[in-house]
Amino acid sequence: MSTLLWVIVPYVVLAIFIVGHVWRYRYDKFGWTTRSSQLYEDRLLRWASPLFHFGILFVFLGHVMGLVIPKNWTDAIGMSEELYHFLAISVGGIAGFCTLVGLTLLIYRRRTTGPVFRATTRMDKAMYAALALVILLGLWNTVAGGVLNLGGHYNYRTGVSEWWRSIFYFQPKPDLMAQAPLGFQLHAMTAMALFAMWPFTRLVHVFSVPLFYLWRPYVVYRSRSDRLGSRNQPRGWDRVDTPRR
């Protein structure tokens, strides 16, 4: 059972995530967009979207801290357990709270603004459900485990995190997860569901963060001749040509 949940499923999700993105990018560049709904409504969006996004970016950074960086690294730079804990709970809690408020506003807006709701696809709805669930469970873990201390102390940095990294070393340690509290197990499971649908939702926009903008020249010039029409050359129809060197 724990092998299935914490070894097989993660690898399947990982495969879907990677192959899915590659496939989507090749098949559907035209559909690769944020599908912004600002044109329909911008009073709520103006608050909700930045709140959600800045929140989730901090949450992401928090996960990098917690999952990717092993405990003995932070120990090595002399960061005490208390300091780490304090940071994780305060910054994580605030960011998580902003994310949740932002997401609630976004979902409320999506449901109540006629044109926005009409432009919502079935995939969007599934994605919102998964996203909301993951965020709620994550926030619950922070609040319940970190602040209220329900069910005793659990240090995820020696549990969940090591399991997470073990997946990428290809030496999975499912037992660590099997022993984790239910809240963490559910958070991880819903997150895996979210990652599995990720390539097929609008969330792909996350991978086109346009940081390159900061360096490129303002005006882009392109020559007609670097592309062969708006279609790819069908196979078997290559032009007669001398090989280019």
């Binding site: 559909g31 967009t33 599908r35 010039y221 392109r222 029409g229």
Partner: protein, 560 residues
Amino acid sequence: MRVMAQMAMVMNLDKCIGCHTCSVTCKQAWTNRSGTEYVWFNNVETRPGQGYPRTYQDQDTWQGGWTLTKRGRLKLKAGGRLKNLATIFASPKMPSMSDYYEPWTYDYESLTTAPAQGHTPVARPKSLLSGKDMNISWSANWDDNLAGSTEIVPGDPVLAKVSSKVKLEFEQTFMFYLPRICEHCLNPACAASCPSGAIYKREEDGIVLVDQDTCRGWRKCVTGCPYKKVYFNHRTGKAEKCTFCFPRIEVGLPTVCAETCVGRLRYIGLVLYDADRVLAAASVQDEKDLLRAQRDCFLDPHDSAVIRAAEEAGIAHDWVLAAQRSPIWKLINDFEVALPLHPEYRTMPMVWYIPPLSPVVDVVAETGEDAEDEGNLFAAIDTLRIPVEYLAELFTAGDPVPVTGVLRRLAAMRSYMREINMGREPQESIASAVGMTGAEIQAMYRLLALAKYDERYVIPPTHAEQAHGLEELATECSLDYDGGPGMVDSGPFGEGSGSQTPLAVENFAALQRRQTSDFGTDPSDKAARVNLLNWDGNGSPSGLFPRRRSEDRADEADRS
């Protein structure tokens, strides 16, 4: 010197009758799709008026275009690169649907399905966004012909810049139409604001396009463009804009708006410019110098040094010849009657305008004086501050001198040609009063008033040997694209997902045949849609009108 070629347009505003044919044919060809209902790549607005989208010219509000930093460097008015990225999650200065207008249709079905009743059934307007009944309260040309002017005209941002005394007199004065398309700027602010780099300027002819496969829907270009000529397709989540009808231009045909213009007032041709001078020209300190700075970027295609440099830059010889015959070059440089729209936005726009003399002529005619007499017209141009100041706010960043100069030349042409038409001696003094010769005036008259088709449009086709580089070429079977005939409208990820369908399924040869044949042909793969993109003005495109009964009978006779 780095020579580049730019396909440009000039519109002669005196001849625009505000019929909106250009807008309608453009819409039929390009934006007749779900998601672009509210989009008019070409729109015609009545001036004074608020324009489309509403008050787009008020850059204090909309923050479009460029501005200068304290140190005199060019910067996007909406903010630098970091600010642009920081505000990506909700663009702070984007017009909302109500600034364009909420698109609608009518519930036509109720007309035919209504039961017998005392009152005539009505087709109610239905919003195309929410599907609900709606009250129509604004549109792309709601204030056409100054409709509702007492309420709407005071909101005109251009009028607000003209002094208050002028505003008062203004109500009784004048009105004209301003057709607008994307300016295909030399220094496009839309491209500069695009975080993904999806908006690009074509090296060959300067046409500014959005790469639909690279656009990620950050919708920053909408804010960037001061003319608000990039639109967000709310179904596909991608930006779209005027394409200068590049599939037509590539084979030597004028754009759809120009081809169908009733007033025959649009001119299309090449100008050569020095790309190295553009940045400096766009950053001159005084806004009033921008017109001259932009003119100085253009290169004389008759100059042998320019010709040599053009050839070194890979511009084909027949393109240089076309640049020499270009009506744009003549109107901007030889006759000096064309002016750019809002040079103060510093994007170096490339659709220029000949300001209208008719408001002045009308005033003179109303007084009962001779409106063809150059003395009367010159005096009126000098005393009628209102139209001149207004036009100056539109075309010269508020400097009345160039506008007056153009209007005087147009007035002189009127008087000079009147003498000839009346069979009198042509008066060189009229011509010299505006710094021209009689021959020049006659040449200008030929271009402006007679406006022959092949002098209005000097469009060198793209080269056959580059044919494979044509963006819209179909050297393969025209039905051989993803989805095949009758493309699927909607992929699994929402509207328009899946790989791209080519814009035009015509190939080079077919277009050329069509261009020279006597028959209007249409592609029959789009059952209910009339394709005006390929229509050359010969005959009527089939499908636009129902078949005549006599034709049906002839068909029947054939069959039996």
